[in-house]
């Protein structure tokens, strides 16, 4: 099945996306390409609400039976909410990476940080 990269959000070369939630905060998740590469996700180690991450560092660890992968945060910011549903159903990351499988919601520090479009991201992963 072809991978999907919706245009209604921005991407980061390390395979995460960020989408404005409407209140100035951003929802963060992994891309369809990333979930496809990881395979069946069995556990996600999410950060504490209130913790802060700089752009480009790992904010969570995503585990499949074969690999543990860092989730590289696409924007600097403070974690306002984590997706609690993932503790019992981490497979949502596989089945709905752009919706119910979101990882965290952050309050960003700096909206001018570089972050790329769906088309630019697709160029990177197909290179």
């Amino acid at each position: 099945m072809a991978l999907n990269f919706p245009d209604d959000r921005r991407y980061h070369a390390e395979h995460l996306w960020a989408k404005e939630a409407g209140d100035g905060s951003f929802v963060i998740g992994i891309t369809d390409f990333a979930q496809d590469q990881l395979g069946e996700v069995i556990f996600i180690d999410l950060p504490e609400v209130g913790s802060h991450f700089d752009q480009g560092v790992s904010c969570a660890e995503i585990e499949s039976a074969k690999v543990v992968s860092p989730a590289i945060i696409p924007l600097s910011g403070m974690v306002a909410e984590v997706n609690e549903a993932l503790s019992d159903t981490p497979e949502l990351v596989n089945s709905d990476p752009y919706g119910a499988g979101w990882l965290v919601r952050i309050k960003p520090d700096d909206l001018s940080e570089a972050i790329i479009t769906a088309a630019e991201y697709q160029k990177i992963i197909s290179a």
């Binding site: 069946e40 503790s87 981490p90």
Partner: protein, 272 residues
């Protein structure tokens, strides 16, 4: 106690454990992490802190009897053979791709010799390539295991001078045992002798064998084999809480060891 095994498809290590349980007529339930993913995933999340991952992911099989969780074919079989008694001499295997390590013949407790030999036999006959470690103690048992012909690689680790053996290994080293161990290792087709910059716990936490102590250990080896040309490798043992020693930091070890054993070389840990 009911036994549950979590397995992976086409997993040689899983087959060895299953064959052993079958042979003993022990009942068990198996779940495959792919076919029974809902059961496995739930189990993994509930027990993640007790489950080990190697560089290629979760190590299968996972064994659970309701009291302990064990992973690693060597560790599981050791547990099935003798409960926790063999834990000192059967630890996690660091080798992948058909190899098994983590077997230290020198740490085998008195009375467990037959079980240790059985364990090595089961692993080798099951299709794994065995790397056996010794530290110079228990040359009698080392000879017995090697005579079975199941050991592909033999590694003799000199973990420090004799005076430190009780602290590091929990037992005395006899000169005669060391001498015999060196002879046996040299006679083995893939025998390797290492002088380790061992990491160990003393009263104040973790510490490491110093270059001077490694030099004393090398002198002890020379006294045992009377051969200055004995090829030995110098390797650092890594441990939590201790700075990793890179090649540069091992140079003082090499110069101390070379004053007894002139062919000593620094060796990088191997990965399979």
């Amino acid at each position: 106690m009911s036994i549950t095994l979590y397995t992976a498809p086409d997993c040689l290590r899983c087959k060895i454990v299953k064959a052993f349980l079958d042979e003993r007529g022990q009942e068990y339930t198996t779940f495959d992490f792919k076919e029974d993913k809902d059961i496995f995933n739930k189990y993994y999340r509930a027990n993640r802190s007790s489950i080990y991952r190697n560089p290629e992911g979760v190590e299968f099989p996972i064994f659970d009897d309701g009291q302990v969780i064990k992973q690693g074919t060597g560790e599981i079989l050791a547990y099935l053979l003798s409960g926790r008694v063999l834990e000192a001499c059967v630890t996690r295997s660091e080798l992948l791709h058909g190899w098994i390590s983590g077997l230290n013949v020198s740490a085998c407790p008195e009375g467990q010799e037959d079980n240790f030999v059985t364990l090595v036999r089961l692993l080798a006959k099951g299709g794994l390539t065995v790397e056996l470690h010794a530290d110079g103690r228990r040359a009698d048992l080392l000879k017995r295991v090697l005579d079975e012909g199941f050991v592909t690689r033999m590694v003799l680790d000199i973990i420090g001078p004799a005076a430190l053996y009780p602290v590091i290994a929990g037992g005395e080293l006899s000169a005669e045992d060391l001498k015999q161990s060196i002879v046996l290792t040299r006679a083995h087709v893939d025998g390797l002798i290492r002088v380790l910059a061992s990491a160990y716990a003393n009263g104040d936490g973790m510490t490491r064998v110093t270059p001077a102590e490694a030099g004393e250990a090398a002198k002890m080896v020379l006294d045992a084999c009377s051969d200055r040309m004995l090829p030995v490798f110098i390797e650092a043992q890594q441990a939590d809480g201790l700075e990793a020693l890179e090649n540069q930091a091992l140079l003082p070890y090499r110069s101390k060891v070379r004053s007894s054993l002139v062919k000593a070389e620094i060796r990088k840990p191997e990965a399979h």
